[in-house]
């Protein structure tokens, strides 16, 4: 493909009479009275199969993915997606199951769901679980709705949710969707929750404190027992955002450290593909006192039979979606956990933390660190020093990284760190890959000093150069403007 030429839009490849033959032709509209019919047919592309395939294959080749190269996007846990899981998820027997089949005809499926739930509870140290949520943010929403239902059942829903200033944007957005006010806690100098600040803000109006542990700086909140004590003493709940679960498996269970609720991001920790932005899955595990509020149905077992359990219907928050969950995603996570076993999951966290620490030490001398504390599976550095010295900012550095076949880190997050670069290599990178990354970083920092102009213009070797985002926002074009008229 000529890199200077755009891949056409599929609509620009359209010509009348070119469609393939997939379904027997039918043009009979006689069953439907004409006043119900649309005036004109939709203008979908008319392109033969081979050209459709080529189009999407060519497009796909413009992407960077985990299978192509290192993808150390902080907070996203871009680990390898095992192929055996993909194979199983494509078994015809799974694709053809209707969600409203009778339970007796899907015992094997319910078994998978039940056992996955049991495994996730064991891994997190919790007592009950819902597999419904379709993503981490959806899990958060489920969790905070349950939190509200819990407090309401005790006579008072309370009014606010506390989040640290290093939190993911989904945390405050979720709290607001549940009718809560959000209060942000300023982190202390080492980047963790400040006990005094928490004490001052924790009162009986607070429904819950939402945190990740390790936090978004990759630092373990080692005062978690005190935090738990402070929150619970005032009757609040402690919510675990599982985005960073990859750091602690085999070492720490949220359920043993005072958390009342945990959501998992199966597409992060448990290797299900990120799919250019989902579908993921965000199961939520809870302690006993929250079980009555779980979305219905949950999956249960009598020992020899599996069934959908609607028994908490009266107290439940309801349902978070139609049907039961993203089954094909849940299946992949189930297989991943069993392939690893507990020993494998522990090893996963160990290597994730080892890789992150190794890479951090290799590159951090170029930057400033927001905290001197030990970090786990990811780390955050600030390019503020480089910016002051050379004018090259975090965006420039991350764009230049793309030229070397590596994905950029998460940038400008967490918000409390200026010019932040957030790096999470995951466990599935070799030492050679990490050394290469460090080498690239040295090169880029040297370029920043010798030829900053080149960095402002980076990347140079990608399918497109920096897009004009101002234009995209001020003159939004959100669909193909003129579609070829369909000739009848």
């Amino acid at each position: 493909m000529n890199p200077n030429v755009n891949e056409k839009l599929i609509f620009e490849m359209s010509k009348k009479g070119r469609s393939g033959s997939f379904i027997p032709e039918c043009t009979d509209t006689s069953c439907i009275p004409s006043e119900y019919l649309r005036d004109k047919p939709p203008k979908l592309p008319s392109v033969p199969e081979n050209e459709v395939v080529r189009h999407f294959v060519r497009l796909s080749m413009l992407n960077h993915g985990v299978d192509k190269g290192t993808y150390p996007l902080g907070s996203c846990t871009m680990k390898y997606n095992p192929k055996v899981n993909e194979k199983a998820a494509r078994f015809k027997a799974f694709s053809n199951l209707h969600p409203y089949q009778d339970e007796d005809s899907v015992q094997g499926i319910l078994k998978i769901l039940y056992e996955l739930g049991e495994d996730l509870q064991a891994i997190s140290g919790m007592d009950g679980i819902t597999l419904q949520p379709a993503a981490g943010a959806h899990g958060e929403l489920t969790g905070i709705l349950m939190c509200r239902a819990f407090h309401t059942s005790n006579g008072n829903p309370r009014v606010k949710i506390l989040v640290p200033d290093s939190s993911h944007g989904t945390n405050p957005a979720t709290a607001a969707m549940c009718g809560y006010k959000v209060q942000t806690l300023k982190s202390n100098n080492s980047g963790t929750i400040d006990i005094d600040t928490l004490n001052k803000n924790m009162d009986e109006d607070v429904a819950a404190l939402m945190i990740t542990n390790p936090n978004t700086l990759g630092i373990f909140e080692n005062e978690i027992s005190d935090i738990s004590e402070i929150v619970h003493r005032k009757g609040g709940l402690l919510y675990y955002d599982g985005a960073n679960m990859n750091a602690i498996m085999g070492y720490m269970r949220p359920g043993d450290t005072g958390f009342d609720m945990v959501h998992f991001n199966l597409h992060k920790t448990f290797s299900t593909p990120h799919g250019t932005g989902g579908p993921g899955a965000g199961p939520v595990a809870v302690k006993k006192h929250i079980i009555p509020f779980l979305p219905y149905p949950t999956v249960n077992s009598t020992g020899d039979r599996y069934f959908f359990d609607y028994s908490n219907r009266q107290t439940s928050i309801g349902k978070m979606r139609a049907f039961y969950g993203n089954f094909l995603v849940l299946l992949r996570a189930y297989l991943y956990i069993r392939a690893n076993g507990y020993s494998g999951l522990k090893r996963t966290s160990e290597l994730a933390v080892l890789n992150a620490n190794y890479l951090k030490k290799k590159i951090s001398h170029n930057f400033t660190a927001p905290s001197s504390r030990d970090t786990f599976h990811e780390f955050v550095l600030s390019a503020q020093n480089i910016k002051k010295e050379t004018g090259v900012n975090t965006l420039d550095i991350s764009k230049r990284i793309l030229d070397f076949g590596i994905h950029a880190p998460t940038i400008y997050f967490p918000l409390i760190v200026k010019e932040a670069l957030m790096v999470e290599p995951t466990e599935t990178e070799t030492k050679e890959n990490l050394d290469f990354y460090a080498e690239i970083m040295e090169k880029i920092i040297a370029e920043a000093r010798s030829n900053p102009e080149e960095l402002h213009k980076a990347p140079h070797k990608t399918p497109v150069s920096r897009p004009d985002e101002v234009r995209a926002n001020r003159r939004p074009i959100l669909k193909a403007l003129s579609l070829p008229e369909k000739e009848d």
Binding site: L62, I317, F327, E350
Partner: protein, 445 residues
Amino acid sequence: MPYFDHSDNDVKEMLKYLGKNKVEELFFSIPQELVIKTPPIITGPLSEQELLSSIEDTLEDATTYKEIFRGAGAYRHFIPAAVDEISSRQEYYTAYTPYQPEVSQGSLQTMFEYQTMMSELTGLPVANASMYDGASATAEAALMAWHFNRRNKVIISGGVHPEYLTVLNTYLKNTGIKIEMLPLKEGTVDLQKLSAIDMSDVSSVIIQNPNFLGFLEKMKDIKKQSGNAVLIYVTNETHSLAVLQTPAEAGASICCGDAQSFGQPLAFGGPYLGFITCSEEFLHLLPGRIIGATYDHHGKRAFVMALAAREQHIRRERATSNICSNHAMSAVRAAVYLSLLGTDGLKSAALLSVKRAHELKEALSTLKNVEFIEKDKPFFNEFSAKLKINDRVFSESLQKHSILGPLELSRFNSSFKNYYLFTATEMNGRAGTELLVEAVKEASL
């Protein structure tokens, strides 16, 4: 550890570089009393061979049917082989949200094309890059309308999928928005009752078309009775969009639902493809990712995530939704599906489904133990009927022929005992139809 491991020597070297002796030392900031003492018991590790054979064993306890006459928001349509082929490409499925557009043009352009197709099908100018599923998309659409006019009442038709209604209740519970149910009359929206509602404090009117029982709604008449409340058009059989009056023509300003029919397998309920399209005035309230076209620095066409300031990572507690990851891969499948079928193919699939359903109804109408709800009202590819049958006999004969029969509506409402929802698509052949009709006949009381 499967899939990946370091060599012992690499681990040793890396630890040495860090000045550590053991990996455990990296975890020392976890207070000792919190460290797991007894590892919990979970199955594994299993080799790939064991894993596959165990899953194959499990599959023996899952029945797949040759003929499926069940829909209710999850439809078995034909999926061209090329859809699976493209969606199996690691270049798509191992990428993430296109934060770096320079190395994500494939995902971005594909989603831009998907948005164009959804806009074209619904007639509404703006589409997002996907939601989770139809039920949560409907709830988010109601929230959009509420953010738009800040009125505190939602009218929802009794013809909306009952699970969607449950989800709407869950989402809206703490917003102060009141949900008022508008029961169906003779299978469709009760226009008289609708016209009697004072619309001045109604935020949105939510109507599913074709409705849950399969009937077509008179959308333009509904629009007339909805005052200046936002009309939200819900559909979970998106094939209908190829044939029916578009939501835009009907006067809806938001359309949402599930596009599972566009190339997503049944897969026991997920992942499916939630979608929202809307008129321009809702653009800045639309949740989720939106892809826009622009140019790169060399003047080459390029695509980016646009209007990000709507979203939670920027707007935090002021965002209209917390959605971040969506169902992008399902949108990729839909884009490929719609590109392959084109207008004529999609219309054929839709009209064949309609035809098969009408043939089935016709055949059932000769039986004495079948009583249709509203015999003469137009429907799409689903219809409901009361069956006077012996359940056991019915299910045994269906089982014998590997047929997944119609859905018992008592599942949602006990007053619907003996009522069934029949569904057909282009996948149902004449032979299957005959066997189903025979089974209904045989089970007659």
